[in-house]
Symmetry: C2
Subunit: 235 residues, 2 copies
């Protein structure tokens, strides 16, 4: 089923932005009166009929609304330092959106080589992956943020920092305690890992240091492994 994300709902009308419109109207030649299936990225599914095709948006009359059920019932937030090579980050984002996340925050760390990021590009990748894997929510992609600022502002129920500075870390799979509705945040460092000071700061703020198994993983692989672990052990 072809799905579209609506960016705005107003008075029983849904709107597609220019990009979604491009696909519906230019590529698939949808016309006034045609019916589309829409998601609002917040868990709702709509059937709607095209009522107006304007220059930069499509207006659709909502015919029916149905709340959808997410395949997971907890809040999963990944904060991963962007990889030096942007492709690797983009791949990771696609994969974790397919597996299921609620938010992604790019972290600017002591050892980060990449200090800039195009969030709009990441949003597009997340949207495509959400559609492709038929997710009814769009993960929130946050702006790049300084590590210290971020860890001082987090309030997830379960906060973890995964690093490679010890072989004796408790595995994330054991440290994570699932309960319905729990919120969990995992931090993953850049290619050179977190600095010892960053780990110490996070731990002092209530983060639990965890490992992701015995294999040495690249940053983007660690992000995928963390997400997959939480999805496997979550509900």
């Amino acid at each position: 089923m072809q799905l579209y994300f609506t960016y705005k709902i107003e008075n029983n009308y849904a709107f597609l932005d220019e990009e979604e419109m491009q696909h519906a109207v230019k590529t698939l030649r949808k016309k006034q009166g045609d019916r589309l299936h829409l998601l609002d990225g917040k868990g709702n599914f709509y059937e709607a009929e095209i009522s107006e095709i304007a220059k930069r948006e499509v207006k659709l009359k909502i015919l029916s609304t149905k709340p959808t059920v997410l395949p997971w019932n907890f809040d999963l937030h990944l904060a991963v330092a962007p990889t030096k090579n942007a492709d690797r980050l983009e791949w990771m984002l696609e994969k974790v959106v397919e597996m299921g996340i609620n938010s992604y925050t790019p972290l600017l760390c002591r050892h980060s080589e990449r200090k800039q990021l195009r969030v709009d590009r990441l949003e597009k990748i997340a949207m495509a992956a959400a559609k492709q894997s038929q997710k009814s929510i769009l993960p929130k992609i946050n702006e790049l943020i300084d590590f210290e600022k971020f860890v001082r502002s987090c309030n997830a129920d379960q906060r973890f920092i995964a690093h490679c500075q010890s072989d004796d870390l408790e595995p994330l799979r054991n440290a994570f305690k699932f309960s319905p509705g729990t919120s969990v945040l995992v931090l993953i460092g850049p290619e050179g890992d977190f600095s010892p000071e960053e780990v110490a700061l996070a731990v002092s703020l209530g983060f639990k240091a965890v490992g992701l198994g015995k294999s040495r993983l690249r940053t983007e692989t660690a992000g995928i492994a963390a997400c997959h672990t939480l999805q496997l052990f979550g509900g």
Copy 2:
């Protein structure tokens, strides 16, 4: 630590092929008498001294040999139909080698769009990923093989076929019963999934049909998820 894979051991001498030589001699300017750390891809680690640099290979005298211990003690074989886009397959292979596999077989299925494959390219990717993640074994990359021929020839202790044709499949995480030394094989289909006939044939031959969770995953994501599940629940 910089590691090299030796492709041949003879009479207490190890040899690097042209590609490894390129890196050691051309890029890192290693010379006669320099010491290198080698892996044979079968679980052994060597310290060796360059004794001769020939045109197409480097000969090294082995100074010490140490068997290494793999981080997992079972045999993990993934057989995944190559994705239409070769990048996706190559990326998957990198990730599963980082996480840990023993062998990979590309499958030619009813719905396969990609019917050809450069195994030598995959071998290079696997070698780079094994080095990068400091694995002492090199996974075996098999030639592309017809689905039916392959499933009729498999003899792993635990054989699974992961598909998307039912929502009620037992999850791989529950179906996999770890015991030290067990051999496990998971089949993953192409973009259009396995055909019902392929699933039926595999099941009739003793494969257990399993699911990989509630999210709809792309082929390459399914390969990563299967490998990660087995590594999490394996020893």
